[in-house]
């Protein structure tokens, strides 16, 4: 049977398992929109294309599936670039479908023409321009395969209008073969033996876990290893949730705003098992002083991550889950021979002592609401079971520090790119992935204004997304740097001219609450979370609170500024 390009595209999406697609129409994609009602695909109309890609990203992070978005050519396409770069930095599987001017016009500066393939080349895992409808099904198949396999990432497919209109015979490619792409996913047996021996020999081991553990669903194997071999665990922002936060071996996040215990433990460890992490500068601090006493083992699916920022003793290119499971199998017999618990007792006690010495903390107040206390309250009220999204800034760090995560795929935050405006649209995507869960965007007053228009999307889809603004009237994280390193020159960081967020919520048909008195915090927060539908809670917090601990940029992890 002959189908049009648009019909083939939508049929391919269905066969790839896409159920929800976030998008915004325009001239170059009308043909696709024209066919949408004839399919079972659910299209969510956003209010800005940046939100479409962030929502697809949030959907992917919360579900572990590939997210998908559809936008028009030119400005529609360029509006997705920040979101594509966000997904790229955090290795999130998304497929971005962009309209393009008809093939005969390409290169002529036609109306709404932009070379989106050229623009996104450095921030996609791969991208395609489909010039012939006969290639379409193959390209879509490859796009999804590339997005989800190996180290996942965004893949963009540019679709000229005429290619969507012409007809061809539809053939579904049963499998994808690419001679130039073979992600190496299985661990090397010899390397596994080496790592296992290092673990047996270590006196002060620590696991440093990153987003790769979550992507690969390696959390169970990781938890098994840590608990049975008595190895303390720390994680990056992207890794939060890969190990139960209530476990006594959990040290909290490491790095710039990591805990005292995590940073001290890394500094004193004799073995660091880096799993699905990439030694980012926000994590290592001054690289030359990172884990000075340790042998480094680095497990990652992407060979380019290994030996990039630090030189490691044992590299292991592998899917993290497969490597962790292989280690579990290799080390299971050792449980009978070695008493890991007793062996590691001095180390674990020392680590616990650091945690006691300087736990995450803040000065409580009777008169002003402390932002950290809001996160703690949210944790309490949701029993730690919510999906937490964040924007970028101080509130993001407080969310990471004070909301203890116990499950993977429940903390959605722009780690690598640090994109303000990410959290709310990501929360919308996450709510579609997890209709069963409470989804909360912990936001800053600055960031929330970057995609506030999505209130319309959330309200008209009856989503129960809760936005909790830790409103300090500042671009707080920048203000903190100005305070500490720029002699309090608060240039352009004071945001006290802001909308009335409660009225704004109401204008969009959402519910709004405001909390200014610590005495009202619990009651009103609970009331807000219990209110059905989209809700904004404007929490007026201590304006000049800082995030601690803090390792100044470029300093060693042990040079922490404490509360």
């Amino acid at each position: 049977m002959e189908l049009t390009g648009a019909q083939i595209l939508l049929e391919c999406l269905k066969r790839e398992g896409v159920e929800v697609i976030f998008g915004f129409p325009g001239g170059a994609v009308i043909d696709i929109y024209n066919e949408l009602p004839n399919t079972s695909l659910r299209h969510i109309l956003v209010r800005h294309e940046q939100a479409a890609i962030h929502a697809a990203d949030g959907f992917a992070r919360a579900s572990g599936k590939v997210g998908c978005c559809l936008v028009t050519s030119g400005p529609g396409a360029t509006n997705t670039v920040t979101g594509i770069a966000t997904a790229y930095m955090d290795s999130i599987p998304v497929v971005i479908l962009t309209g393009q001017v008809p093939t005969p016009l390409i290169g002529n500066d036609a109306f709404q023409e932009v070379d989106i393939v050229g623009i996104t080349r450095p921030c996609t895992k791969h991208n395609y321009l489909v010039k012939d409808v006969r290639d379409l099904a193959h390209v879509i198949r490859q796009a999804f395969y590339l997005a989800r396999s190996g180290r996942p990432g965004p893949v963009l497919v540019d679709l000229p209008k005429d290619v969507m209109q012409v007809k061809t015979k539809f053939v579904w490619p049963e499998d994808v073969k690419m001679r130039s792409y073979n992600p190496n996913v299985k661990p090397h047996a010899g390397q596994i033996k080496k790592v296992a021996q290092l673990i047996r020999d270590a006196e002060r081991p620590i696991i440093y876990a990153g987003g790769g553990v979550i992507t690969s669903q390696g959390h169970e194997a990781l938890t098994w290893l840590a608990q049975n071999l008595h190895i303390p665990v720390t994680a990056t922002l992207m890794g939060l949730g890969c190990f139960p936060g209530k476990d006594r071996l959990w040290l909290g996040m490491l790095g710039m705003h990591g805990t005292y215990a995590a940073n001290m433990a890394v500094n004193n460890a004799d073995l660091v098992l880096a799993v699905g992490a990439r030694f980012d500068d926000r994590v290592t601090g001054k690289v030359s002083t990172f884990a000075p006493m340790a042998k480094l083992v680095h497990i990652d699916i992407d060979p380019t991550s290994i030996q990039k920022n630090v030189s490691v003793h044992v590299p292991l290119v592998s899917d993290c889950r497969l490597a962790l499971e292989a280690l579990k199998e290799e080390l299971t017999p050792s449980l009978a021979e070695y008493d890991f618990e007793t062996g590691h007792l001095p180390w674990v006690s020392k680590v616990r002592a650091w945690a006691k010495e300087h736990p995450l903390s803040y000065q409580p107040s009777e008169t002003t609401i402390k932002p950290q206390s809001v996160v703690e309250k949210l944790h309490e009220l949701t029993r730690g079971e919510a999906v937490i999204c964040t924007e970028v800034g101080q509130h993001q760090m407080w969310a990471a520090q004070f909301y203890t995560f116990n499950e993977p795929n429940c903390f959605l935050s722009s780690g690598g790119l640090g994109t303000m405006g990410y959290g709310f649209p990501a929360a919308i995507g996450a709510q579609f992935a997890r209709p069963d869960k409470m989804v909360i965007d912990i936001a800053g007053d600055g960031s929330i204004q970057m995609n506030i228009q999505e209130l319309a999307t959330s309200v008209c889809n009856n989503l129960g997304v809760k936005i909790v603004i830790l409103n300090n009237g500042y671009l707080g994280m920048v203000r903190q740097w100005q305070e500490l390193f720029y002699k309090k020159n608060y240039c352009s960081t004071c945001m006290d001219a802001q909308p009335d967020f409660v009225k704004l919520a109401e204008a969009y048909g959402a519910k709004g609450f405001r909390i200014s008195d610590p005495k009202d915090l619990e009651r009103v927060l609970k009331q807000a979370l219990d209110t059905p539908g989209t809700v904004i809670v404007d929490v007026r917090v201590e304006r000049e609170e800082n995030v601690y601990p803090m390792v100044p940029a470029g300093a060693s992890l042990t040079d922490m500024l404490l509360v």
Binding site: R121, P122, K125, H126, S180, Y181, D302, T304, Q307, K308
Partner: protein
């Protein structure tokens, strides 16, 4: 140290820009880059001359391999291989020095490909060092223009 990489790629639009973009975006250095067809019309070969310490070269090779359109990367530096460049050079020549120039052309087994009253155009092939040596010897006569290809390379059959 200088490394010569032979990069086998899918012959499709944009592949050169993916490779060039990788080098510029990550601050790697390209000394020369040559692209051409292979026996398989679906595949092209790029020969890239680049500079860097071991860690940088390792990154370059891995990053190239990570590009979806790259099929294979071989670092020819550690292998026995034949490396060639082509040089076209226009040099001033008059009755007093023409013979001397032609002698150099002879010694290096170059070719004269164009002649006028006061100029000679010379074609030379050879490895990087030989081309540099020819250039060095002809400079004093007044070189007016040069055009140099990037390198092309091939692994030798016997690697002993």
């Amino acid at each position: 140290m200088r490394h010569i990489l032979s990069v086998i790629v899918e012959n499709e639009p944009g592949v050169l820009s993916r490779v060039a973009g990788l080098f510029s975006g990550r601050g790697f250095n390209i000394e020369s880059l040559n692209v051409g067809p292979t026996l398989d019309p679906g595949v092209s070969v790029m020969t890239i001359a680049t500079e860097g310490d071991e860690q940088i070269i390792e990154q370059i090779v891995k990053q190239l391999r990570k590009l979806i359109t790259v099929i294979k990367v071989v670092d020819l530096t550690d292998l026995k291989s034949v490396l060639r460049e082509l040089l076209l050079l226009k040099v001033n020549a008059n009755d007093t020095n023409r013979a001397e120039i032609l002698r150099i052309v002879d010694i290096f087994r170059c070719k004269v490909v164009d002649v006028s009253i006061d100029e000679l155009t010379i074609e030379a092939t050879g490895n990087h060092e030989k081309i540099n040596a020819i250039l060095g010897l002809l400079t004093r006569f007044g070189v007016k223009e040069i055009s140099r290809s990037g390198m092309v390379a091939m692994k030798r059959s016997l690697q002993v």
